[in-house]
Symmetry: C2
Subunit: 298 residues, 2 copies
Amino acid sequence: MKIVQTFAEARELAGGRVGFVPTMGYLHEGHISLVDAARRESDTVTVSIFVNPLQFAPSEDLASYPRDLDRDVALVEAAGADIVFAPPLAEMYPSDPLTRVTVSDVTETMEGAIRPGHFDGVATVVAKLFAGIAPDAAYFGRKDAQQLVTVRRMTADLSFPIHIVGSPIVRESDGLALSSRNTYLNRDERIAARSLSTGMFAVAAAVRGGERSGTVLEQIAAGPVDAEPGIDLDYATLADQESAATIDALDRPAFLAVAARVGRTRLLDNVHIDPDGGDWVPDEGIRLDTTSILYREA
Amino acid sequence: MKIVQTFAEARELAGGRVGFVPTMGYLHEGHISLVDAARRESDTVTVSIFVNPLQFAPSEDLASYPRDLDRDVALVEAAGADIVFAPPLAEMYPSDPLTRVTVSDVTETMEGAIRPGHFDGVATVVAKLFAGIAPDAAYFGRKDAQQLVTVRRMTADLSFPIHIVGSPIVRESDGLALSSRNTYLNRDERIAARSLSTGMFAVAAAVRGGERSGTVLEQIAAGPVDAEPGIDLDYATLADQESAATIDALDRPAFLAVAARVGRTRLLDNVHIDPDGGDWVPDEGIRLDTTSILYREA
């Protein structure tokens, strides 16, 4: 595995079909599942590690966002990646970037409404990584559902010849969706956070039981969170997988997304729901057997 | 030469080093000079022909913009292009495009101030063409000076591995800078339009004579236009080649740009001024010996 700091090196070292996993580092099994998926479908697997300032608001956790490049490099090497692209800020932004990539409509609901400018920062850095790495496929977690919608739309609108793959959420054994930000949680917060996934599994069960009402599914998602004193729900929303628009009924590929605050930490979870034959199938994600590597030495 | 309507075909037919010439069609010797430059430096020369709606304001001349694909195809074939990418609107915009690429600062002066949104449309379509064609180099005329600044900045900011080449203005034998919009001019307007290039040649002479003041060079540029009753000057501005910011003195690579209205037609001209050794060298462009192909059958 090679560790490079420039786009030029990342392109030169790549050959054949290139699978690309963009990350902000501090990796967990969710990221590793993306590397695994890329590995199965690619000749070269390139992983980028870059904490992108453009997608953080001034009030957000850019400075404290967890970073450990040595740990990340060991993890992606073990997972079989070929190239780690870990650019210094000066490679990504040699001068103040004047160019922004914005995606309207799909960024107006949910996270887009709560974090103004966030998806502009995401779309801009992903477009830049796509332009500079020139992969054939790129792998994103379903955990950031609206990000996936935004990236798919940006990729299509700008005609990048890149196949976008969305992979299932990976969860702690008790259900909590993996997130680098989980490392912010203390013991009490960690317990309160579990209510998010409890709601998600209840949504999945209701969908399997035939429930199709957006309002009812949203209530089911919110229930366990509302019942838990240590966590505040921002939203529980049934949304269209293509447009991220709120929908009233499960009548197209959708996701039920929740966001909540636990102390100073914001957490997301969701259940994607896809048609299969004449039925609707919820994606509850993958549960680990043991505690995730977020809480262990690499 | 192959004529294709999809990005996928344009990429599949290309091999080796790809030189790309993006155009809005209704080609003239200015475009042909770009194809010539690409031909000298490329294994595959791809020319796109697409009148991009995103860069026209509702009040502008999208509907009347001159179009003649058969004529254009004959011209680029004669010039030795390999691929013409002439997408239908549905290939470029299969659904309402939600993604915009914007470049701040460099688009605030001159054309950016007069045509709000114009450079967003340019940056968006050029980013899309770059993503979809994936060329090694792209060729633009110096005639659209601020467009060249915008494209260079977008390309760098988004890390497209594409070399941007700016080629000299090609002029009618009397000096008028070639533009597809010149075909809008009637006989009187055509005579009035000549004052723009008269001013440009005077600027070039003054620079060679040692003039370095922005104000004086702007006055020299404006003089012949102000003296001509049939033409109204929008601006005469000395600007930085990198930032498109107005500058007071010729102390860095610059261009003196003018814009004017003749009847309902807007026309642009400029002189790029580059350092060469210890001297400043104006680029007056290339004059044709005869009337351009704009006024002839292909």
